[in-house]
Symmetry: C2
Subunit: 267 residues, 2 copies
């Protein structure tokens, strides 16, 4: 048993969809969430900068005595997971490997697509992880930079979102993918629109679910799950206090937590 909280970080507020999965699958666990809202997004930035930011994010979570870290941000997972794992002694989980495994499990025809930020796609991490799976024959990757601002603008059930999705996803449809990995935490907020464009025969994968399944297995086999009569206390931190946190918190978790502001560059 390990009473310490699980740390979760994201470039901003999208990672709240990953926190939601912890609440669902591991309701006994306490969460410390950090969203780097002062430097969001990571998805348009270089690997070096994403790695520098990610190491600071983990360092901050370590000051909160976390027992493990979940890198909710796909861009940080894709670019910087090995650097983080090399730098710190605790278990650090990314979303890319679990997302790829879930995609491999779901595909029937072996053609899998992945959509993500420019930086995630450029890293090639999803493509490599998918190609390691024997079920996967062909991999098609597409950066969709406008999906994050569309989700943040709240234009998720919308003509502009539909048109944008059709534009981005056309080539994946043409390739005949039957499975699409949503490799960015914001994209599940556009699930309806992405699903309508891709059609009912295409399975949409949200890596968060599979990631937290793995985290649960790992903590369980290390006998490090939390067991307590007390309900868990969650803590949320951001590097810039904006209204966006509340909006997405309500959308993702269905409940608004208060976030404390911290100066991330000091870590």
């Amino acid at each position: 048993m390990d009473e310490r909280p699980i740390g979760v970080f994201d470039s901003g507020v999208g990672g709240l969809t990953v926190a939601r999965e912890i609440l669902r699958q591991m309701p006994e666990e306490a969460i410390v969430y950090f969203g780097d809202t002062a430097r969001v997004p990571y998805g348009s930035k270089s690997r070096e900068t994403v790695t520098r930011f990610s190491l600071q994010d983990v360092r901050f979570l370590l000051t909160k005595n976390v027992k493990a870290v979940v890198v909710a941000c796909n861009t940080a997972s894709a670019n910087s997971l090995p650097a983080m794992q090399a730098a710190f002694q605790l278990p650090i989980f990314g979303v890319v490997e679990p997302g790829a495994k879930a995609g491999a499990k779901a595909t029937k025809n072996g053609k899998v697509g992945v959509i993500a930020t420019s930086s995630t796609i450029q890293s090639g991490a999803y493509q490599q992880a998918l190609r390691r799976e024997p079920e996967v024959k062909e991999v098609y990757a597409k950066a969709c930079p406008l999906f994050v601002p569309l989700a943040e603008e709240g234009w998720t059930e919308d003509e502009v979102a539909d048109l944008t999705a059709r534009r981005y996803l056309r080539e994946l449809q043409d390739r005949g993918v039957d499975t699409l990995v949503m490799g960015c935490t914001h994209y599940p907020l556009l699930r309806r629109c992405i699903g309508e464009v891709m059609g009912p025969k295409v399975t949409l994968i949200d890596p968060a679910r599979e990631t937290i399944l793995r985290v649960k297995e790992a903590l369980s086999s290390a006998n490090a799950l939390r067991q307590s009569d007390q309900p868990p206390q969650h803590h949320f931190y951001v590097s810039d206090r904006t209204a966006m946190f509340e909006t997405i918190c309500r959308k993702a978790i269905g409940q608004v937590y208060e976030a404390e502001e911290i100066a991330i560059e000091q870590y």
Copy 2:
């Protein structure tokens, strides 16, 4: 005469449109440009964070021995110009006041619109500056958060951009504005699309032009213009090295300069 360069900073690469105006109006002047590409955008962030970042940006430019600073970023101008002017001894020029003056000069019916990032609109800086002008009777402001990602995606001559612009600009049209201030450095890249939606009777104002006119006047009256037989040397710095700098540099200036990467959080 003052041989020292003019400092220009922006949250990212949009401020290159302001650098272009210096090249056009003051071809003798040397420019030191800093784009905070590691922390871009500023437009969705709080006033406190924008001010903290802006002070660091000016501190960096001061290490390059600049004689004046042009705050190309509308968000930083709108939120943080007084803080910067209070903190430093050299002349610091924002784009909001000149943009508002240009809008006032252009309007015939006294109805002026301004479009900008969320943070700029929330600051109320353009609205206040416009209301100080006797020519201006009514001011209408609208945040257009998707315009920056659209411009960066290069979707400027495009159905998605047209639809987005119609959505954002409809209420300004309904109000009958005859002048529209583009209060974000990226928006001139969408000028055609914004112009088509607003129609030929609406004058579009790019604050960069008026701002540099003012800078020239100020330096001239202080006898601080550069005069030299040597062509000026320009220097470009970014906090994250990304392909976006080159793309926008080519679009805005028509020539690609190499940018050096610096660690802005150390300033």
